[in-house]
Amino acid sequence: MSHKTNTPAVEGLFTMDLREPRLLGTRCRACGTYFFPAEKTFCRNPACDQTDLQEVPLSRTGKVWSYTSASYKPPPPFVAKEPFEPFAIAAVELEEEGLTILGQVADGIGVEALTTGMPVELVLRELYEDDEHVYFTWNWKPTRDGSDA
């Protein structure tokens, strides 16, 4: 049993909810456009001069826009597991927000199991740990029944 604390590898990007995590973005109350990572200072839509940005959890599910793999260990500041295990990466479109967001594909699922347009959901996975904390990041995972969940 681990006594380590679960912690996001970087604060403020997602809810630390292992069952139903959400990415945290912002939405402009005036024009309705979204930002991830959260833009907190000003709306970046050139047609909008507002600064009223609301923090919002983003949709947990989306569809694969494209995908690739990391067959070689990325350099620091990535903290790679030893020995390095290759992973897949997906670019996922969130329909409501109109955003495409990158993330590793969970659980060693490789590119051969992925297709463009495939529904995926957000999960949290351990990225690295130290003596006191287990640090997490988000991953995309194909939905079990292939539905939009």
Binding site: C31, T68, P74, V79, G98
Partner: protein
Amino acid sequence: MSKDVAVLGVGMHPWGKWGQSFVGYGVKAAQDALKDAGLQWQDIQLVAGGDTIRNGYPGFVAGATFAQALGWSGAKVSSSYGACATGAQAIGVARAHILAGLCDVALVLGADAAPKGFFAPTGGRRPEDPDWLRFHIQGITNPTYFGLYARRRMDTYGATQQDFAAVKAKNSKHGLHNPNARYRKEVAPEDVLGSVLVADPLHLLDICATSDGAAALVLCSMDFARKHTTDPVKIKAVSTVTPVYPNTIIEMPNLATDSMAGVELPERGFKESIAHGAYEEAGLGPEDMSFAEVYDLSTALELDWYEQIGLCPQGDAEKLLRDGDTTIGGRVPVNPSGGLSCFGEAVPAQAIAQVCELAWQLRGQAEGRQVEGAKAGVTVNQGLFGHGSSVVCTV
């Protein structure tokens, strides 16, 4: 008023891994460009340096670093950075000075000494820096983006890994006799397909290396040029555009696109807008181009550029390649220099090197890789964080 500036001299330090300081590479390229122009260093009124971020403080103030190395002469100085598009920023500064009448003749110079393997962010914990964030939290490298675009081409247009390999084979032939290229060896498609997979569907030989190298241009007003040469190559346009919001294609080094919600989409995407800006300024179109130098960070990206610079409609790039249109001897050769495929990337020198190749081609001096009867050429390149880079030159 004419917006032409003349390319009076060009020079390079060969690309490779030489284990020396970027400053020495730059000095060699500058000396070659000055010699080519028939000028002395003391004739230069402005030094426009392209910065490198991997070589300490001297790299951040490259203009002054080169000026000091060449010998303080009292010239005006500028140093600019735009990631892979750094060279276009430096060209833009020199051209603007010349066209505004603030100087007659300028030296544009970029050089780099690159690390081995993946480019990575500079040190320190910086969660606010998208470049740091993507590496730390997802292990996303530059080839990740190349892989995503390549897969998208396959799924959208039916491109194959064989098509990508054919781009490498073509470029390897183009660069065979280029004295400044790092890789001068013919590569067969099966060599590419047999090399290790780096970022599926791309193999090691689909992805450009990182290199040391330097490139320099002597640019001047048309009046100044007429006193030194006849019929100089002219820069007709320099496009350094940013995207128009929302930029809906995932771009290095971001983890997400802009949002499409609540906003109208721009008339053209970012990559399509880059050369378009140069064509508009030049009053020319893609149909006027004899050849193109495009930023082939990967083989698949070269195919994207065919469409994004208007050589063919969306989805037709593979056909253009297979028909031999983009091979030397074809309708519109692409990367006659051999491209990044044969050079590898020396970041601040690259956009300048593209213009060197335009000049050699348009003068008929591209020995062993000459595009016969070349009258006009276009470069295109893109620097991360939203830097467009495109130059149109004519004879």
